[in-house]
Amino acid sequence: MIFKLLLTMWMAVIIVAAFFYAGTAAGFPGQTSRILFFHVPQAWIATLAFLISMIASALYLAKRKVETDYVAQSAAELGFLFCVLATVTGSIFAKATWGSFWNWDPRQTSIVILLMIYGAYFALRSAVSDPERSRVFAGVYSILAFATVPFLVFIVPRITASLHPEDTMSPVNPGMDPKTLKVFLGSLLAYTGLFIWMLRLRIRLLRLKGLRVRDLYHEPDNE
């Protein structure tokens, strides 16, 4: 409860700070650089969530603990959500700076493939009715999909030629304005907190759904 309250307040502070405390970065038209405080943390959470989902899937296949699959499923769902958010905020920025919402920039290409993969992942989950089979298949698919990711490096060879701002707005860039950096790191923290809270909620929900069936027989789970 306290965690939720603190998180809400922190997010409110960050939103205000993002618009009024931090300055705009040089080389970007108007206020567009403020997207940094929302878009980058969203992309970071999406990456983190998909990574967690992948690892949890592999763990599930190895140990067959239902709990790890709850993590894999919840993280994939949240990863998808944040991935969509990052895509939307990204294309708003693209419209403002590059002139069009969508132009198959390498970043956009790879994000579309990622969305396709996880869209298929959810389709697979809902198409297999047996819960355990559905978990195994989802895990297998997520590992297979991960194995094809290295090939994206070959098919998106112009990654260096991307229009995506890397240096001017990278947090590791020493030239970043200290105020901007403070708000950016704060936002990263807020988004990570939000993600952890949502992830725990989702896992708890899945666990409750799973419990209902097993408790009926008062028998310990086999696996």
């Binding site: 298929a120 697979l124 297999v128 009715s129 297998v140 297979l144 194995a147 070959f154 098919i155």
Partner: protein, 230 residues
């Protein structure tokens, strides 16, 4: 009790031959794939013809069209061998008699045979109908072959999964396409270069496709038993 005197390869070949024999007698998968491919090819050829596209654009656009026809035709029939085992109720007896890795290899060989037949018919017809000029035939053929291997390697394990799913129709394509996308783009690029006649050292696209085949086959060998025994 049986004594094991054979290798995985012998057992895989037994499954491959049995599938070929059934296919030869019913022609279910091949008919679906070829009819899809021929119909699409005719539609493309009729609407675009051999002169509609500017000469400079041809190597790239023809390569795109060719790989779209090949990929989607393959997706229309490559799941058949697994789905048929499930529908005919023979999947359990196969599970009780064969080792999972042998099943995977047998089905992979069968799918590769189908793809071979598909490419053998469609690629020459496409070149003929579209007047597709290829300046570097060796590279082109290597690209077609390695791309075909990749299509088989990337979809066989997916076919095993969708055979156990309740909605099969579109699911096979939905699951396969994201995994095939890197391969497709590589093949399109390779065929474009072959058509133009760029002598790139070491045929990088063929190498990428071969690497894709190896990775998908190795991953499938590890993961297939999990699916098969579920």
């Amino acid at each position: 009790m049986q004594t094991r005197s054979s290798t995985y390869l012998n057992e895989a070949v037994a499954i491959w031959f049995r599938d070929l024999r059934s296919e030869f007698r019913t022609r279910y998968a091949l008919n679906a794939i070829l009819m899809f491919a021929v119909t699409t090819l005719i539609a493309v050829s009729f609407s675009i013809g051999s002169f509609r596209i500017e000469e400079a654009e041809r190597p790239f656009l023809y390569s795109v069209l060719l790989w779209i026809i090949l990929t989607f035709s393959a997706l229309s029939g490559l799941s058949r061998s697994f789905v048929k085992e499930e529908e005919a109720g023979t999947i359990d007896v196969l599970k009780l008699s064969a080792r999972p890795q042998a099943v995977f290899f047998g089905k992979l060989l069968f799918n590769l045979t189908l793809l071979g037949a598909l490419e053998l018919i469609i690629v020459p017809s496409f070149i003929f109908l579209m007047a597709y000029q290829i300046n570097f035939p060796g590279f082109f053929v290597a690209m077609i072959i390695s791309g075909g291997l990749g299509l088989g390697a990337g979809t066989t394990i997916i076919a095993a999964m969708i055979a156990r799913a309740s909605t099969r129709g579109a699911l096979f394509s939905v699951l396969s396409l994201p995994l095939l996308l890197p391969l497709m783009i590589t093949c399109i690029k390779g065929c474009e270069r072959a058509a133009i006649g760029i002598h790139s050292a070491g045929w990088p696209e063929v190498k990428i496709a071969v690497a894709y085949v190896i990775i998908m086959v190795v991953m499938s060998l590890f993961l297939f038993p999990l699916i098969w025994e579920e």
